[in-house]
């Protein structure tokens, strides 16, 4: 999946996870900074007095065992908390003359500290940062002076925090992590949706317009957002309206112009008829020419009007279901009649029904244009062959119209269906019509969700392929040679 949605979703999710991880890591890093280390050490200047006074009280009141038990319990707690400390986690209580009151063995480096403490006033903590020792002289219940010495452990490192997360709260940690992932995931999903859904709507609208649905607009859910995407949607709609108006104006102009030319041309024909009635023999030749040109104009305007009508799509409002093979049969029979005058023929054989839904007249005109085109181009004495069959997917009816004419140049093939395109070969222009017939065919089939294409057939001649979707459910109807003609 390379969709915008997936990208946004994954990126933001990843971002949130990375940010959370960074916060955890930097929290560890902050704790091991030097200022924190000082603050940590300062803490022990309070702790040393507290522990010292308590130990001295226990000793004076309850005896050595109680005091030692207390110190041992402190050691267990400290060792548990500060697993990585190098120094032994043990507190000491000294009486006057540097004698350890609780009969603990004393590491030798403490002697130096004890000496330094001799002259130090009571009740004030002293920190030996280098040795990481805190000491205080404490006045006991009976007035004697003790010296309490305790190690200052290293502040907790990142490793310790890490081990705290993984080992000490392993199960809960996973739950926290999962919760963060799920909440972040939900948030990112919403974010990605929020950004991509209007983009998708824009894309759909654009695609519909590209497929000639000029009335397509971006819907209101995009426009009410009041952000840049909503503005984009509004601009898109304005653009679509403009295109719609322009295309319609152009089509209307085409139709209007054709209609307007119709009237003077009709008058021209009448004037020509009148002139002919009084014409002398020598002017007849020119009148013939005028009539030929007027006739060409007639045909051109007829096709322009037909194209305008097909493009307007008005005929699609009255669709009916009919057998495409019968339609082709009718056109083929007319084509055959026309071809006889040119010493050619049109052959069409079919065995089954191909039910389609659409505008009968429009589709017949579309097929007719292809067949007449083939009749015009096929060589004298040859046959225009028309076949109809189901496509491989069984979804479409495929009509093939093949002539035995000169065919088309390969570079002309894709352009055959463009209006007024008559091919680049001047020899073939002579036999061409107004140049709109195949354009009408293409538009008519497109409006019915069909396709048209042309190719040079093996052995010479052009083969035009017309595809039209069949009705979704084609019931098997009994074959009748004389099928009932559909009524309008």
């Amino acid at each position: 999946m390379h969709s915008f949605f997936t990208k946004i979703f994954l990126w933001f999710w990843l971002l949130i996870v990375v940010v959370s991880a960074t916060v955890v890591v930097s929290a560890g890093a902050i704790r091991s900074r030097s200022s924190d280390r000082e603050r940590w050490t300062q803490l022990y200047s309070y702790l040393v007095g507290l522990r010292g006074r308590h130990t001295a009280q226990l000793l004076d009141r309850d005896g050595k065992d109680a005091a030692r038990e207390y110190i041992e319990s402190l050691e267990r707690v400290d060792t548990g908390n500060y697993v990585n400390n190098k120094n032994p986690m043990r507190d000491y209580l000294f009486a006057q003359g540097s004698r350890e009151v609780l009969q603990q063995s004393v590491p030798p480096y403490l002697q130096e500290i004890l000496e330094k403490m001799q002259q130090f006033p009571e009740g004030k903590p002293r920190l030996f940062e280098k040795q990481r020792i805190a000491a205080e002289r404490i006045v006991g219940l009976n007035g004697q002076v003790y010296t309490f010495v305790m190690p200052i452990p290293e502040p907790p490192t990142f490793d310790q925090i890490y081990s705290f997360i993984t080992k000490d709260i392993a199960g809960e940690g996973l739950i926290y992590l999962g919760t963060i992932l799920i909440v972040a995931g939900g948030f990112c999903f919403w974010l990605a949706r929020n950004i991509t859904s209007p983009i998708n709507r824009l894309r759909l609208a654009a695609r519909r317009i590209a497929h000639e649905h000029l009335e397509a607009r971006v819907d209101r859910s995009v426009l009410v957002r009041r952000d840049e995407l909503a503005e984009l949607g509004q601009d898109f709609n304005r653009m679509a309206e403009r295109i719609d108006a322009l295309v319609h104006a152009q089509r209307r102009l085409l139709a209007d112009v054709s209609h307007e030319i119709r009237s003077p041309l009709t008058r021209l024909n009448l004037a020509l008829g009148l002139a002919r009635q009084r014409a002398s023999a020598e002017s007849g030749e020119y009148l013939d020419r005028i009539e030929l040109e007027a006739d060409r104009l007639n045909k051109l305007i007829g096709q322009l009007l037909m194209l305008a009508r097909v493009e307007s799509g008005v005929d699609l409002e009255q669709k009916n279901v009919f057998d495409l093979a019968t339609l082709v049969q009718g056109v083929a029979s007319d084509g055959d009649f026309e071809a006889r005058g040119l010493q050619c023929s049109v052959e069409f054989v079919h065995t089954s029904e191909y039910l389609v839904e659409g505008a009968f007249e429009m589709l017949r005109a579309a097929v007719e244009n292809v067949v007449r085109n083939a009749v015009r181009h096929t060589a004298p004495g040859t046959k225009v062959e028309i076949t109809i069959e189901r496509s491989e997917s069984q979804q479409d009816a495929v009509i093939r119209v093949r002539d035995y004419g000169p065919g088309a140049l390969p570079q002309d093939l894709p352009l055959l269906f463009c209006p007024f395109y008559r091919g680049s070969d001047p020899a073939r222009k002579a036999t061409a019509g107004a140049g709109l017939g195949l354009a009408i065919t293409e538009r008519a089939f497109q409006l019915h969700s069909g396709r048209v294409s042309a190719a040079n057939a093996p052995g010479g001649g052009l083969e035009v392929r017309l595809e039209l979707p069949l009705m979704a459910k084609t019931q098997e109807t009994s074959k009748v040679t004389l099928a009932l003609a559909p009524s309008h």
Partner: protein, 263 residues
């Protein structure tokens, strides 16, 4: 006249004859042109006068309806595009009262106009721009068809029982189905006559265009299909539900008589 005959001469042709008698101005070749293009009407008038027609031109739909119903004309040439109402509306109003032959001028490339025109009861159509020779020939053909053959106007003589529930009176140009008169245009009437003459035989569209429309068949001309389709609709199916006219659309047609019931 017997009651039977009175009923026989009822309908379209009777209305025409009454109108003819009522109007002293009626001329067999007087033609009404309804078109808003005045210059065209002028040229048309000149051209058709040469062919022996008498032309009257009006330029609006309402005037067209009024003049058509005056009964002074043998036929009407009616343009689809009129300033005040569509030619179809004129046709509809006229057909409510009269069966005067009407030729429609339609837009070329507009099959729907052609179909609608013929469905509403126009006798023929010609797409604009047209060749004036063609127009003149079509007018002649329509007039010929509309004029009752004098040989056939013999009361009661030409009554044909053509189907179990269908009667055709050639002289009166009347068709009845189960006693009810069916309003047919001149073309549809001739078409039905042609069908009944050769019931059970396959008729090609070519032959029918020549015999009924009185002109040469040109391929890709669909008017015959529309006429047949209209006729089929007006006649409806037989009491047993079967179609009277069968065929491959646009190629051949066949009028099938009902098989005699087995006893």
């Amino acid at each position: 006249m017997t009651d039977h005959l009175k009923r026989g001469v009822g309908g379209s042709i009777r209305r025409l004859i009454v109108a003819m008698k009522k109007s002293h101005k009626f001329l067999p070749r007087r033609i009404l042109v309804v078109d808003d293009d005045e210059e065209l009407c002028q040229l048309l008038s000149q051209y058709l006068t040469q062919d022996g027609f008498v032309i009257e031109a009006v330029h609006t739909g309402s005037a067209g309806v009024e003049r058509t119903l005056s009964g002074e004309h043998a036929m009407v040439v009616l343009d689809v595009m009129l300033p005040d109402m569509r030619g179809f509306e004129v046709l509809r109003r006229v057909r409510a009262q009269s069966s005067i032959p009407i030729l429609m001028l339609t837009a070329r490339g507009d099959d729907q106009d052609r179909i609608l025109g013929l469905q509403l009861g126009a006798d023929d159509y010609l797409p604009k721009p047209f060749n004036p020779r063609e127009l003149s020939a079509r007018i002649e053909a329509v007039l010929r068809r509309a004029a009752p053959d004098p040989a056939e106007i013999k009361p009661g003589a030409s009554e044909d029982l053509i189907d179990a529930d269908l009667e055709l009176f050639s002289g009166a140009r009347v068709v009845r189905r189960r006693g009810q008169q069916v309003d047919l245009t001149a073309v549809e009437f001739d078409l039905l006559k042609r069908f009944t003459k050769s019931a059970g035989l396959v008729l090609s569209r070519e032959d029918m265009v020549r015999a009924v429309l009185g002109r040469e068949f040109s391929p890709f001309d669909r008017s015959m299909d529309t006429h047949v389709s209209n006729l089929r609709k007006k006649l409806g199916p037989r009491p047993d539900g079967s179609e009277r006219i069968k065929g491959v659309r646009g190629i051949v047609y066949i009028y099938v008589l009902s098989a005699p019931a087995r006893r």
